[in-house]
Point group: C2
Chain length 227, copies 2
């Protein structure tokens, strides 16, 4: 039952006291390329912040550009208005890769790839960086989309807050493969192994009348169950 | 670009000052059945807690039993050892349901269902409740699995910590459907709509020799792309 995902955070680049891996260090990744791959594949992050001693964790979209993670949202957002004051933040991104079905309840687990970023966000005030960040968020969801959509108006830009979080204190943790059963359980009479899971895109649902010649989107991960 | 997911938390049952919805209240759910359905469908939660003024957000497995969310993990886990001291915690569960491709960058969004639980966790010390919680976690991943696996030994139980978090201050937030474009953008020459996404189970990968007569698992969400 020892859930690998319940363990503490992975190791860091550079390692700091508060993010150094305490348990299962073999699952930590020091590889920045591995970290970037997770951030670029996932679509949603979970933003953690503290308000009056209470932690809050909210899902949101994001994009990575080089060494920066961009968050954005309504300029009226309580969360973003709090974060731009420079409070400590934790952004966690998790990809669920599989269910690990061990022979013992104790060794049930999950395959996953996760990234944890600690730091402080700052508001982006430069309009060209703001536009690049918003472009990155749109392109992150669907590459090529930015050149298709109407760009933000000046009024929309004013209504949007963009925050930058540098990838300075960042760690990845990865579990892959089958169960790690105890030797004496190998003969236990049940199926054991792992079941890979993945996010799949289904048939696009058009909104009203679509102009002639505007092709339906093809998602990067749409290959398997495409209609 | 206003990401619906970046907004503040949904409304609550009962509503409290710190969880009352501030923006987009139409997306909040007061329906406990809707909350339970989200908690029961998702496989991973994100646990937020504060340590020395720094928020941390870590993914882990869980299970709901009636009005309680159970977390578990190694008794050596720093996170769990911290939580059992009674510090405030936030557990967030998010199901990504689709990509919303609006005609304007500003209205790009995501379809999702999320639940936010605020509260304080306590350690479960009663062994029968601990076993029921662990059973619920195993059954949550794959119904019927608990009667197949070897149950936890006394030593494994001692090595496992179980925490209970009551579903007292809990809220759901849901976005569904197509884009909400401005009227003047309806003629913009690009495809617009939404692309549903879902978690799909792929072919199970057996671990070594599987005993005769032990069937491969069928995941509840395996229907669509089953090999």
């Amino acid at each position: 039952m020892a859930s690998a995902m319940a363990g503490p955070m992975g190791a860091v680049i550079p390692a700091t006291e508060r993010t150094r891996l305490r348990r299962l260090p073999a699952r930590a990744s020091h590889d920045r390329a591995a970290i970037d791959a997770i951030l670029d594949e996932a679509l949603v992050c979970h933003v953690g912040f503290v308000h009056e001693a209470q932690p809050y964790v909210l899902p949101t979209t994001y994009a990575r550009v080089d060494d920066v993670l961009y968050l954005h949202g309504s300029a009226a957002s309580r969360m973003l208005r709090g974060l731009r004051e420079g409070v400590p933040v934790c952004v966690t991104v998790t990809l669920l890769d599989g269910l690990v079905l061990a022979r013992s309840a104790f060794h049930q687990s999950m395959n996953y790839r996760s990234v944890v970023i600690l730091g402080t966000a700052t508001e982006v005030t430069d309009d060209s960086e703001r536009l690049r960040a918003l472009e990155a968020v749109v392109e992150h969801v669907l590459p090529g989309r930015w050149r298709q959509v109407r760009r933000p108006s000046a009024q929309e830009l004013r209504a949007t807050m963009v925050l930058r979080l540098p990838l300075l204190e960042v760690s990845a943790k990865i579990r892959a493969g089958g169960p790690l059963d105890d030797a004496e359980d190998r003969g236990w009479p049940c199926w054991a192994g792992h079941v890979p899971v993945e996010l799949t895109a289904l048939a696009p649902v058009p909104d009203g009348v679509i102009p002639a010649g505007a092709p339906a989107p093809r998602l990067p991960f749409q290959g398997r169950s495409e209609p």
